[in-house]
């Protein structure tokens, strides 16, 4: 038995973490790296079609409401701040602060979603640009719609955590990891919007 040395006596399956990062956190990072390819394909499709002339109907870039989108982008950006503050509060054991900042993050996310619903409605009703107007419109709705879906999933996760945090005892240490994971996801959704806001909104409006 010379080389085969015993390790710890009771062996849990979830024990060693060779990289020093928890399995779930590493998993989240790995998953997010894959999400780049997902949004990249959608953004590339949008760029292809928004730059192609000759489609019938309205192009999304003709009807963007830049001031409005700027505000909702700002809202989403600030939700990253509240998210990181929630995480910070929990790591200091401040349950009240965690609760507050979690709710604030979810609320800002919901405001962003509300803005998107408003924007879509305006585009469809006022400007008559629907999902099937032309490929540029299709690509716009698909891209921002998938981003919105990601935000919505994030809001649901945040609200679940918030619900748990309101119970007696607040968030446990295990929930702390959940909070960190949701945080990573939430920031990721934010950085994707940073790209979308610039590339899809600001840059695709034809300059006068």
């Amino acid at each position: 038995m010379s080389d085969v040395v015993h390790e710890t006596p009771v062996a849990h399956h979830d024990e060693h973490e060779s990289t020093g990062i928890g399995n779930r956190k590493l998993g989240m990072w790995v998953f997010l790296s894959s999400e780049f390819m997902f949004f990249g394909a959608l953004i590339a499709t949008y760029l292809l079609y928004s730059n192609r002339g000759g489609f019938e109907g309205t192009y999304p870039s003709e009807i963007y409401d830049i001031p409005f989108t700027s505000v909702s982008s700002f809202v989403l950006l600030m939700s990253s701040l509240t998210m990181v503050l929630a995480h910070n509060a929990l790591s200091k054991g401040d349950q009240n602060g965690t609760r507050t900042w979690l709710f604030a993050t979810a609320a800002l996310g919901a405001v962003f979603l509300g803005g998107q619903v408003f924007e879509f409605t305006e585009f469809i009703v006022q400007s008559d640009m629907t999902l099937s107007t032309n490929p540029a419109a299709s690509a716009f709705y698909l891209l921002t719609g998938f981003h919105g879906t990601h935000v919505a999933v994030g809001v649901i996760m945040l609200l679940s955590l918030w619900g748990i945090s309101r119970r007696k005892g607040g968030l446990s240490e295990e929930h702390g990891m959940n909070l960190e994971l949701v945080g990573l996801y939430w920031h990721f959704v934010d950085i994707i919007w940073i790209v979308i806001f610039t590339v899809v909104y600001l840059l695709s409006v034809p300059s006068a």
Binding site: M1, S2, H13, M37, F38
Partner: protein, 674 residues
């Protein structure tokens, strides 16, 4: 057995605890059981895909044949490719990865056991969903965007298998707009697109799981460059999946939106660009090729050293070559589109990039030869398949280089020359590799040996049948036989060779029958394998056969590449292997510890929720296909509810039930017979 069975807790359901019978399989989170289920499912789909191929071959054995209708033929080649790629080779590789990765890196399970079960069930339901098109799908004549529709003949008549025509018939590559809403109306292509979406999700989840497992769950001392090559190739595959599945997911979403919700992503009538589909599809599709071949390369890299009784020649070169293949695999996709009218600059660039892939591939082949050189070659069945792999894969690789010469590819693309090439790579390569693995690790699964006489019969039949089938296809292609052709004219002179090819296909079928008999026969009546039947090198053989539920009685500590071999062998001054005096004693100890863990081992508990969650997806996706009807909408809601219930239950349920060491109280209860 000291596996502690804990009292199951109740969240939404009472936690399952059955260790035997059907429920133990339905609720298992054990990577080995999941691997076995993957394996059997994959093999079943192999049989189905093979039968489809035989029907295709019967049709082609005669010029202008009427055995199949055009619709049935197109459906069959679409489903043959889709099945073999997504429902056979990928899950078969997943079977090996599931079973072996934790064993090879010295872990008790994967990083996320329940996610692992989820992957498997999603894959399984995805396969069922895709194949349910044979029952529910419809496929009708094309309708041009101008509203004029094509016409079908009155009927195929008996023996034409026309009922098959109601399944996906746009090709596994689903080129747009042919597979879009106008030219492939009916629901069949929706089943295809959404079925692949489900299966892709399973692969993505697996990829995350395997990456975390390999990076985080290695036994002490198992540094990255001490991992077996199979684990390395699995790592590369996991990354390829991780980065390529999202691309096909987006492309399939676009197709689904085009078909279901009137978007115009790929419809030229509204300005959509069909070439975009090709870019996205092959951006996924080419890494997919390496997803299919790399696991087999990993298997061969395990089998060759064992039966050559030498370490793998140039271990790190083989590992880096594998990683290089994976990396370069992302940069060559447009060589599938060299005739599509992309610019000469792009054609030249992608042609050159494709050539560079030959370099790491060559490195692998030469290192395998180097491994065999000077060894003591034991020509067992797994070794035969591994050597067959090298030979056949070399042919496939070389014909691949002829496509990289772009102008020459303009002649070859879309002909049977390509069909020959891809089968030499995927059948002569992947499938031979997978069979090598099945024979090699059969004792690991069952504790029995497979019959070697039948095994060798299987090999020779398959090897000969394979070459009779696919070698003439090179010739057929260069003689002008285009791919996906339902009929060819007698004047083309292609018939005689097609007869040969069809005969070969039936020889392959026969060889598979021999294999199946051998498998099931050996499972019951095979010779007992004992411990370490092949005198192997890697960690999975340092535990008893069949593998105990907890894998390792004690977690191993690794000090070298081929750790297990070095427990048994030293080297003399000339560098020759010398069996250690106490080798038998070490093995006996390993066996003893493997069967009688010194300490209790807690394993992840079974769970209903992966199964339940996976069941939600097909329900939702059926709903999407029929979303215009009320019951379609209802299905979406029901599916979402099922998945949501599972998510909640999953979140509330810990991976392992809390296991306070059997308390005195409980012990008293047990004593009192409560």
């Amino acid at each position: 057995m000291t596996v502690t069975a804990e009292r199951p807790r109740t969240t939404i359901f009472k936690r399952p605890s059955s260790a035997y019978g059907i429920w133990s399989w339905l609720t298992t989170v054990d990577h080995k059981k999941i691997g076995i289920m993957y394996g059997y499912a994959a093999f079943s789909f192999f049989i189905i895909g093979g039968l489809e191929a035989l029907l295709l071959r019967v049709q082609l054995a005669q010029a202008n044949a009427e055995f199949l209708t055009a619709g049935a033929y197109n459906a069959l080649f679409t489903m043959h490719a889709t099945t073999m790629i997504f429902l056979f080779i990928m899950p078969a590789s997943a079977a090996f990865m599931n079973y072996l990765i934790p064993l090879m890196i010295g872990a008790r399970d994967v990083a996320f056991p329940r996610l692992n079960a989820l992957s498997w069930w999603i894959f399984f339901f995805g396969g069922i969903f895709l194949y349910s098109t044979f029952v529910f799908g419809t496929s009708v004549a094309p309708v041009g965007p101008d509203g004029i529709s094509g016409n079908l003949a009155a009927g195929g008549g008996p023996g034409s298998f026309n009922w098959l025509a109601a399944s996906p018939d746009g090709g596994w590559f689903a080129y747009q707009p042919n597979a879009g809403p106008f030219y492939s109306p009916g629901t069949a292509m929706d089943y295809w697109a959404l079925g692949l979406q489900i299966i892709g999700l399973a692969s993505l989840v697996s990829a995350v799981n395997f990456i975390v497992t390999i990076f985080n769950m290695r036994a002490k001392g198992m540094r990255l460059l001490r991992m077996p090559v199979f684990v390395w190739m699995s790592t590369v595959v996991a990354f390829l999946l991780l980065f390529s599945i999202p691309i096909i997911a987006v492309a399939l979403f676009m197709v689904t939106f085009d078909r279901q919700f009137g978007t115009l992503f790929f419809a030229p009538v509204g300005g959509g660009d069909p070439i975009l589909w090709q870019h996205l599809f092959w951006l996924f599709g080419h890494p997919e090729v390496y997803i299919l071949i790399l696991p087999a390369m990993g298997i061969v890299s395990e089998v060759l050293p064992v039966f050559s009784r030498k370490p793998l020649f140039g271990y790190s070169a083989v590992v880096f070559a594998g990683a290089a293949i994976g990396f370069l695999g992302f940069g060559v996709w447009a060589h599938h589109m060299l005739a599509s009218g992309i610019t000469p600059v792009a054609q030249a660039a992608f042609g050159l990039a494709t050539m560079t892939i030959a370099i790491p591939t060559g490195i692998k082949i030469f290192n395998w030869l180097g491994t065999m050189w000077g060894g003591r070659l034991r020509m067992t069945t797994p070794m035969l398949f591994a050597v067959g792999f090298i030979a056949m894969f070399t042919i496939g690789g070389l014909s691949g280089v002829t496509h990289a010469v772009v102008p020459s590819d303009w002649q070859q693309t879309d002909t049977y020359y390509i069909v020959a090439h891809l089968h030499y790579v995927l059948f002569g390569g992947s499938v031979f590799g997978l069979f090598a693995g099945l024979y090699y690790w059969f004792p690991k699964l069952t504790g029995k040996m497979m019959n070697s006489k039948l095994g060798k019969t299987h090999f020779w039949l398959m090897f000969i049948g394979f070459n009779i089938t696919f070698a003439p296809m090179h010739w057929l292609g260069l003689q002008g036989m285009v791919r996906r052709t339902w009929k060819y004219a007698p004047e083309t002179g292609l018939e005689p060779w097609n007869v040969v090819v069809t005969i070969g296909a039936f020889i392959i079928a026969l060889s598979v029958a021999v294999f199946m008999y051998n498998w099931f026969h050996s499972r019951r009546h095979g010779v007992d394998s004992g411990f370490d039947p092949w005198d192997a090198r890697t960690l999975e053989w340092a535990i008893p056969n069949p593998t105990p539920e907890y894998n390792f009685g004690v977690s191993p500590v690794i000090s070298k590449l081929d750790h297990f071999w070095h427990l048994k062998y030293d080297q003399d001054d000339e560098g020759r292997a010398v069996r250690k005096d106490d080798a038998d004693q070490i093995i006996a100890e390993l066996e003893h510890v493997g069967l009688n863990p010194p300490e209790p081992i807690h394993l992840p508990n079974p769970s209903y929720f992966p199964l339940l969650m996976a069941a939600g997806f097909p329900l939702m996706f059926y709903g999407i296909i029929y979303h215009t009807t009320a019951w379609g909408k209802a299905l979406i809601v029901i599916g979402a509810m099922v998945a949501l219930t599972a998510v909640i239950g999953w979140a509330m349920e810990p991976v392992e039930e809390p296991h306070d060491e059997p308390s005195e109280e409980r012990a008293e209860e047990v004593e009192a017979g409560v």
